[in-house]
Amino acid sequence: MSTNQASPMLSIQNLHVSVDGKPIIKGLNLEINAGEVHAIMGPNGAGKSTLANVLAGREGYEVTDGKVLFAGEDIFELEIEERAHRGLFLAMQYPVELPGVNNTNFLRSAVNAIRVARGEPELDAVSFLKLVREKIKVVDMDEKFLKRSVNAGFSGGEKKRNEILQMAMLEPKLAVLDETDSGLDIDALRIVANGVNMLRRPERAMIVVTHYQRLLDYIEPDFVHVLANGRIVRSGDKSLVAELEEKGYGWLEKEVAA
């Protein structure tokens, strides 16, 4: 296949990560190409969120071994915002509230910070508003949310939709969705998943981190990986989701222990 001939968008090689001196990820290998959607599943404490946060550069995670190349660059040499400038986006499990910071201004500052870092001109207010009005349809959000403070007083579902709106605006190369389904009712889940599907592109890759299979009923992954005890213990196509649904995670963990 043509995608396999080019170098992968993301290459994780023998990654080891500790938190407070305790090893959480213990030798993880994964390659992701443009256009692919990878689901990472696994029981609580397997290291799923650690992986998402380490990719984005959050403090408090110590990389003890291995490396990660993003579009050929060593990701650990880059600051948090530099990773964002190169097209890495993390939709967070717990989106943060920024009281008094207007949602539109925040989006515009983010879009322009990334444009400037890439040597592109800033978007003026008119073009920006046009763009945001178009993108907000992706997540079926009322424009009144643009006037509110970032995530302040938003419900769980509204916060997650706001994350997807940001993703739509920032047009990332690689989107990492960390437990985007947590805390969502079925309607919100459908809207968020629909938004994600609308943003699937041949040039964009996605990592969908989730504990439950239900999100994957809506976002159909190309590959599914099961993370247990800091390693990928099984990879397959979407049929693996059904198998997990049936048997739970226990059988895999037992297999690994054996």
């Binding site: 400038h85 967070m92 943060v96 009281p99 910071v101 983010a110 403070s149």
Partner: protein, 482 residues
């Protein structure tokens, strides 16, 4: 983040932009305070007899008082005999008759500060009174204001030209007995600004005073008196800076506002006195008494302040709500970093029926800064149906700073309502991570979060000032996180 802590230190060291000294010949009184000092100042200004008598009464009262020590600030004792109480740029010949004759060195100083005094260069719609050390050096747009009947001049001039108005109102809101620093100011004040808005007049432009302390070992003791007669409106802005000097300099001002029936006064301050260096050496002691009286029914006084400078800030812009249905407002942002200390807040004294007051105080502390909100809401027995709402928020940046809240409430009327809300928060690692993950630099993220925190106060500032305040805040806090 630790990687750029050197950068952070650089930024903190470099950021006071107004620290230059103007080389201008001054006539400066030697340090020391006694009756002669006061007679000298009064004579220098050719004041009417009543003024000198008032000053002397204030001086003798001051001698009987002790410096207050209840504020949540610490400083070595102030030697009042080591301060010079009068310093004025030397006049060439007769002194300037028009703006064209103002010493070019002074014009240059104000230009450097971004305060153009030449009218053709001035910001449209703002008239400026420039106070340099002890005296007013220039007042712009006087003709245009005079056409509307507005008096806008230095206190010294007002004493010559409108002595009756000054006599009627000066000290009527802040008595010379009010407090230690007000008494000192009443004895030795050297200049300041006088504003009178006649009945029914909406002042056609923003009025502004720009205070600059230049001379070493000099205190600045100015008085501002603003009288808004029935049905009038005025918006007044005040800005301040000082050179970087190793010694502490004292700024003890008094501001009095009087709003008659249906009058409205909006008073905005952006205070950026030199705060001292990172170790707490030097900087201005800003010990100021500001008070407004809503004397007439349905009058309204709003104080908005952005306090980023000074080694120590000690001020409580207050409202006496005497008229029925009168309204008092206080919106404040106070920032302390380095070793700065601020003890600031307000007093709302409700005396009339249906009086209302709103207090919004935002304290930001970074590095080793200490920030205290101290506020009094008093509902007197006659204040039927009076209402107050207080909101007091503190933002902490780092783990060596402090925020303190001292709300005092005295309610002597059963129909009065007093509400107090207080929050303390930190700029969290999570917030910074979130912003940076979206592509913003750490500095832009801090600036955005802090500006968001202050939004309710900035919304109250006139447009030009709001923009300036936002910039000032960004510069002040640049690199304060690390």
């Amino acid at each position: 983040m630790s990687a750029n802590s050197d950068q952070v230190d650089e930024l903190i060291k470099s950021e006071y932009e107004h620290g230059f000294v103007t080389n201008i010949e001054s006539e400066t009184l030697p340090p020391g305070l006694n009756e002669e000092t006061i007679r000298f100042i009064s004579a220098k200004k050719n004041e009417p007899e009543f003024m000198l008598e008032w000053r002397l009464r204030a001086y003798h009262h001051w001698l009987s008082m002790e410096e207050p020590d209840w504020a949540s600030v610490e400083h070595p004792p102030i030697d009042y005999q080591a301060i010079s109480y009068y310093s004025a740029p030397k006049k060439k010949g007769e002194g300037p008759k028009s703006l064209d004759e103002v010493d070019p060195e002074l014009l240059e100083t104000y230009n450097k500060l971004g305060i153009p005094i030449e009218e053709q260069k001035a910001l449209a719609g703002i008239a400026v009174d420039a106070v340099f050390d002890s005296v007013s050096v220039a007042t712009t747009f006087r003709k245009k204001l005079a056409e509307a009947g507005v008096i806008f001049c230095s206190i010294s001039e007002a004493l010559q030209e409108y002595p009756d108005l000054v006599k009627q109102y000066m000290g009527s809101v802040v008595s010379y007995k009010d407090n230690y620093f007000a008494a000192l100011n009443s004895a030795v004040f050297s200049d300041g600004t006088f504003v009178y808005i006649p009945k029914g007049v909406r002042c056609p432009m923003e009025l502004s005073t720009y205070f600059r302390i230049n001379e070493a070992k000099t205190g600045q003791f100015e008085r501002t008196l603003i009288v808004a007669d029935a049905g009038s409106y005025v918006s007044y802005l005040e800005g301040c800076t000082a050179p970087m000097r190793d010694e502490n300099q004292l700024h003890a001002a008094v501001v009095e506002l009087v709003a008659m029936e249906d009058a409205q006064i909006k008073y905005s301050t952006v205070q950026n006195w030199y705060p001292g260096d990172a170790e707490g050496k030097g900087g201005i002691y800003n010990f100021v008494t500001k008070r407004g009286e809503c004397r007439g029914d349905r009058s309204r006084i709003s104080w908005t302040q952005v306090e980023t400078g000074s080694a120590i800030t000690w001020k409580y812009p207050s409202c006496i709500l005497r008229g029925k249905d009168s309204v008092g407002e206080f919106y404040s942002v106070a920032v302390t970093k380095g070793k700065q200390q601020a003890d600031t807040g307000t007093k709302m004294i409700h005396m009339g029926e249906n009086t209302r007051s709103t207090i919004v105080s935002k304290g930001i502390s970074a590095q080793r800064g200490q920030n205290a909100y101290r506020g009094l809401v008093r509902m007197t027995p006659k204040a039927e149906n009076a209402r107050n709402h207080t909101q007091c928020d503190s933002l902490l940046i780092g783990d060596q700073c402090g925020a303190h809240t001292f709300p005092y409430m005295e309610v002597r009327n059963p129909t009065a309502k007093v509400e107090h809300e207080a929050t303390t928060s930190k700029i969290s690692e999570d917030q910074l991570f979130y912003c940076r993950q979206r592509g913003l630099s750490e500095e832009d993220a801090v600036s955005m979060i802090v500006n968001g925190f202050c939004k309710e106060v900035f919304n109250e500032l006139p447009m030009e000032f709001a923009v300036e305040a936002q910039k000032l805040l960004s510069v002040t806090l640049e690199g304060a996180v690390g």
